[in-house]
Amino acid sequence: MSRARFDVKSYPGFVQLTVLCLLILYLPLMVVAVYSFNASASIVNWEGFSLRWYADVFTGPESAKFKLAARNSFIIAITAATVATAIATLAATAMIRGGRFRLRVLSLGLISLPLMVPEIVTAVATLIFFNTIGFERGTLTILLAHIAFCIPFAYLPISARMQGIEDTYEQAALDLYATKRQAFTRVLLPLMMPGIVSGYLLAFIISLDDFIITNFVKGAGVETLPTAIFGAVKQGLKPNIMAISTMLVGFSIIMVTVSYFVGKKDN
């Protein structure tokens, strides 16, 4: 039986093009990952497998700098993700359960606009903002900036989840004598939870990986992992940078994967 079905694979060159795109996307990462296991200090010549650069990250001369930066990164990412997720959850509840209110479309646009604005613009704007109000740059400025740009990332999976929850569940809760608050905490919140976890992980990873905005708003002497790596690279590219980068990529992949599966989880 031959069915005349449209199949994109039948386009000439489709497979080749796909492979090319994937190569362009992933080849640099592959090179970094492979050379992080290089036994020599060279970043171009392969001289056998070794974990020495991973050991160097934790015990080498630059280890103290990296450990401090990593600590900062995690503290900022956890705090920013937590605050951003809480705000995004409330925003999603208001947007989806608030009925039709004036400026609803505008609010929706405002929440997701930062995703489309070039990050460098946001970075400069944030810097100007902090300067204007006379806020001294440091860990707090990084944290505030991260909370702000994490909100849309946390918002998307949460609102997607919530859109699929019919309001009859809350009506049923009210009908069964729950107060509005109880209907929210006992029924709506648990149903939203997969979206919230997914949004949290996404916000966390976005904060952890951010470089541009952080670089602008950080004070002197405060480093996060991405800015520390950038600083180290300026001194010269060593394989220990590749080891850190590989670990960061691995961590990100795990988080995004978990986020994806939690978000998809059906109740």
């Binding site: 019919e166 009859t168 809760a173 009210l174 009908d175 069964l176 004598y177 729950a178 149903l191 109740n267």
Partner: protein
């Protein structure tokens, strides 16, 4: 103090109006539902049944009018302050809670202790034969079982009135029939007033103590099943409930409580007079197909002469389509088990139609 009218009505709806913008979904509904009654709101889709039910539950504002629950005015109370529970059309069971937790929810929200809530939930689950499923999540149950959980959850807090919005519409025919009996049984056992919404007239007739037939945001007729079926008050009710022959008639003469009606083709039939239609006025006549018998010879002066056009076998009955003078058509049903007594005539046969005394119903509008 609450206004109490001293009646034993579970629900009194007084001149309730519901508007959505320019659209009037309910036009001044007034009805009383008695304590401990199985009351049905029946009507075609879009007539406002759900809207009325949701106003009683507290999910819709009442644009105008009042609603009383056992004499207490409730239309301004939020849903969680009304001792009324709902079985939702799609059940709305909490998917993250198991069956027992679902059934306990209302009791816990009312502040009953966990132990007491569990005991009561256990009882009610027993009543709906779901005890062995109490640890399951709703998604692990069949449609019929979910339906019973929804019932148990709504009955557990012992509401004064239970509202059911087309609860059986998602079930297949056999299960639906079984649930109809079970619901009726539960209503008797618990003594709770049920307000049941359906668009299925057969379901309404089998289950209800009383029925309010609705159309286009108005109550067309309110009464017991038998009243509604045998004494419809208007064309809509006669047509919506069961099958009927609707014939345009003109009233020719009146004799006490009886009137003589003429069809367009000149045939005449006497029936009970009804208010709102006098001599010389036209209206409709409703004759149920099963209330007519076919004979070879004329046995009454008012029998119509007709010819069998077609017979349709419908299991319990044979439905005969008859042609009368002037192109008029009538449908007559003859029970299959009656075969010995009431004959089925072959298509093409000439017959006489005998309308059972008292079963022709004159309708003013």
């Amino acid at each position: 103090m609450q206004v109490s009218d001293g009646t034993d009505h579970a629900i009194d709806v007084r001149k309730a109006v519901k508007r959505y913008g320019d659209f009037t979904a309910l036009k001044s509904i007034t009805l009383s539902i008695r304590d401990n009654e199985f009351f049905t709101l029946l009507g075609p889709s879009g007539c406002g049944k759900t809207t009325l039910l949701r106003m009683i539950a507290g999910f819709e504002d009442v644009t105008e009018g009042e609603i009383f629950l056992f004499g207490d005015e409730i239309e301004n109370l939020p849903p969680n302050k009304r001792p009324v529970n709902t079985v939702f059309q799609n059940y709305a069971l909490f998917p993250h809670m198991n069956v027992l937790e679902n059934v306990c929810f209302g009791l816990e929200m009312l502040g009953r202790g966990k132990a007491e809530a569990r005991r009561r939930a256990g009882e009610i689950l027993e009543m709906v034969q779901l005890s062995q499923f109490s640890e399951r999540k709703p998604s692990q149950l069949s449609g019929g079982q979910q339906q019973r959980v929804a019932l148990a959850r709504a009955l557990a807090p012992q509401p004064k009135v239970l509202l059911l919005d087309e609860p059986l519409s998602a079930l297949d025919l056999k299960l639906r029939k079984a649930m109809q009996l079970e619901l009726k049984h539960l209503q008797r056992e618990t003594g709770i007033t049920f307000i049941f919404v359906t668009h299925d007239q057969e379901e309404a007739l089998t289950m209800s103590d009383r029925i309010a037939v609705m159309s286009a945001g108005e109550v067309q007729q309110l009464g017991e099943a038998r009243d509604i079926y045998e004494r419809p008050e208007n064309r809509f009710v006669a047509d919506f409930i069961g099958e009927t022959n609707l014939i345009d008639v003109t009233v020719k003469a009146k004799d006490g409580s009886r009137v003589l009606c003429a069809f367009d083709n000149g045939l005449t039939l006497t029936c009970d007079a009804v208010p709102g239609i006098g001599v010389g006025q036209s209206g409709h006549m409703s004759i149920r197909p099963e209330r007519m018998k076919l004979h070879q010879e004329m046995i009454e002066a008012e029998n119509f002469r007709a010819r069998v056009i077609e017979n349709v076998y419908v299991g319990t009955d044979v439905q005969s389509i008859l042609g009368l003078d002037g192109g008029m058509r009538l449908t007559v049903r003859t029970q299959n088990s009656d075969r010995g007594k009431a004959r089925i005539f072959e298509p093409g046969s000439d017959v006489f139609v005998d309308v059972e005394f008292g079963s022709a119903r004159l309708l003013a509008h």
